[in-house]
């Protein structure tokens, strides 16, 4: 028991550390961003960047602005970094609730389906159709399990697109897709149930003598035996597995998730990553460093060179902190001092570049959505890790402790 508690403690600690790190980073991001919001107007994109002129001085793309407005509204009009951070967490928790609402019944359904199949096979064997039943089951187990998700995906798409006269709740589509993902594990659950039924054969035989029907017999077995030994673990494992699958697909290309509908946390992470990638791809990923690298070519100024190289090294070495306003303003000060001896042209170029170092709207977008997608990735990992760990501690570690 103590061993299990220790394990549980370790796992919980790991999860807490991960969550705390993610939250801290998110807070820091919002704080950093809030500095730049104070001086939005008047920041112009300098000529050092070819062509990428963006939406205009200081304004964010529509998506970010709207997203921030939504956040601020849900927070009560605060608009403070802390408020926004709270709002993001609130959104995550809401979507977490939705995800669990979808995944938990799916886990139960999978376990139930496996038991029904196992019971039916057992019954078929008793009735003498064992060969046929085994053949059927073998054909179900034979293909790579992941292929079972294809018919479910097609069903979900059919429900979503081809039924105009009936609009089921969006959750129904997602449940169908998740059932498809979960079909992967039904084969393994099936074996476990079969094994359990086999172990209970004497019990079944004696109960059958009392003359109750087959269905009641297996229902009773389910109630007495399966729910205690097999079901809880399978339920949890099924839920974890389905979440892992959704996680997987949402990193590459979610099949049914759509933007305007309430999403699972995995899909939300995907859309944030899309937004981050979108910004970076549109405007290029390394503008900040490029600006400073261009400046390095300016040779007519002795004082500027050393200041630049030091600053460049600082920014390149810790790109995240590049967005820390204190660091960039310190760099800006240093550069301005060094500029005192420089010519007009150099001064102009450097000043324009300095403005861009102060984090243009585009970079703010990139930073915001990048951090959001990382935040979601970490928390999603925790979301899978916690029930997985619970499964390990509650069910599987029991065997270890007696060793």
């Amino acid at each position: 028991m103590r061993g299990r508690l220790t394990l549980a403690g370790l796992l919980a600690l790991a999860a807490l550390v991960a969550v705390a790190t993610a939250e801290r980073r998110l807070q820091a991001t919002f704080e950093a961003l809030s500095h730049f919001e104070e001086s939005p107007a008047g920041t112009q994109e300098p000529d050092l960047f070819d062509g990428a002129q963006g939406e205009g001085a200081g304004t964010l793309s529509g998506a970010t602005a709207r997203w921030r407005d939504e956040l601020d509204r849900s927070d009560g009009g605060g608009g403070t970094p802390a408020g926004r951070w709270r709002a993001v967490n609130g959104q995550y928790l809401r979507q977490l609730g939705l995800t669990l609402l979808l995944v938990v019944p799916v886990g139960a359904a999978l376990s139930l389906a496996a038991y029904v199949l196992a019971a039916a096979t057992e019954w078929a064997e008793r009735e003498g159709w064992g060969g046929a039943a085994r053949l059927l089951v073998a054909s179900f187990e034979a293909p790579p399990y992941i292929l079972w998700s294809i018919p479910f995906l097609m069903l979900a798409l059919w429900l979503r697109r081809d039924l105009t006269w009936f609009e089921a709740p969006y959750g129904v589509y997602l449940v169908v897709v998740f059932l498809g993902f979960g079909a992967f594990v039904v084969s393994m659950f099936f074996r476990q149930c079969r094994e359990q039924i086999r172990l209970c054969r004497p019990l079944l035989d004696s109960e059958a003598l009392t003359g109750i029907g087959e269905v009641r017999l297996f229902a009773r077995l389910f109630r007495l035996q399966i729910t205690r030994s097999v079901l809880p673990r399978q339920w949890l494992y099924g839920a974890v597995f389905v979440m892992l699958f959704d996680f997987s697909f949402c990193v590459v290309d979610p099949p049914v998730h759509e933007r305007s509908m309430p999403l699972t946390v995995f899909a939300q992470g995907y859309f944030h990553r899309l937004q981050a990638d979108d910004v970076l791809r549109t405007y290029g990923p390394d503008r900040e460093v490029r600006a400073i690298a261009d400046l390095e070519r300016l040779a007519d100024c002795e004082t500027l060179g050393p200041a630049l190289s030091q600053g460049t090294r600082a920014l390149v070495a810790r790109p995240y902190l590049a967005f820390d306003s204190r660091l960039t303003s310190a760099l800006a000060e240093e550069l301005e001092r060094a500029l005192a001896d420089c010519g007009e042209e150099t001064r102009g170029l450097v000043e324009r570049a300095l403005v861009s170092i102060r984090l243009s709207a585009v970079d703010q977008d990139a930073l915001l959505f990048g951090e959001l997608s990382r935040f979601y990735a970490w928390l999603n990992w925790c979301l899978v890790f916690v029930p997985f760990g619970a499964l390990f501690v509650l069910f599987d570690a029991r065997a270890l402790q007696d060793a």
Partner: protein
Amino acid sequence: MTGRSEGRPPGLPSRRWLGRRGVAPLAAAFLAMVLAASIVVISPDAHAAWLWEALQRTARSLAQATIALVLFLLLVGCLIAVLKAMYAGCGGLGPRFGTAAGLLLAVIVGLNSAPIVVYVQALRSLERELGDSIPAALPLWFLHGASVVVALLAANAMIYYFFGGFVSTLLQESRKLYVASARFKGSTLPGYLAERGQMYLLGILGPLLVYLLSFTVFTDLGLKGAFGADETGIVQTLFQSSREEGMSDRFVVFLLVLMSIVLLIWAGLDVASTALERRFREGRRPTRRPEKGGTACAAG
């Protein structure tokens, strides 16, 4: 993760069925091939070349899955060696063993909570980073193959399910009387457990192979074009086909060819495991090596 017949296809292991266990999958494989061939003949759009393409892609995916399987078994071997070092040498497996196993599995839980695609993307960015520093002598196909195989090891919850099941089976078995009394019979606990372990591993070969085959979807998706590779495997092709073309002839033909190959493998595994099982039960006694230096446990 429970039960002794974990991993074996459903079927009574009684003697009567031993000879016929491989028949059903063989017949089904033949049937699937015949069906695929007939679709190719009947349908106006289908061509015989589809069969060959399906075979090639299946062979590719299977090769990757098989090598990943071998790697997985090696990994399990290493982990077991580590755990074995924790074996107290007396009585049961010992608290050190339990602790070590517990910690190991906890770490595995942490690693397996991230889906395979995370690891695939890590490999991809590794390729980008290393880029020029990879020696030109290493052929690209080898690098691609290696990255696929390594990525497959990270298949969703695979290590936890199979390795954890392995450890759990061993632990359950170790509590049984005939194993616990090993040292009184001039042998050792690990010696007796080895047989059970081998049976378990043999039993999971089939499901494990199919599991790995399924996850080639993600490696094919994520590693396309990595190291210049341009071929995709059968499972990703099926997914792509169903998404882009729906239930077309091509999808069905590819699926049938895949099924027939997989069924052949199931049949082969059935036969092999049955034969080995028979040997274990009837004739040859596995060596239960006595511990070197004699048993140094206190009596009782």
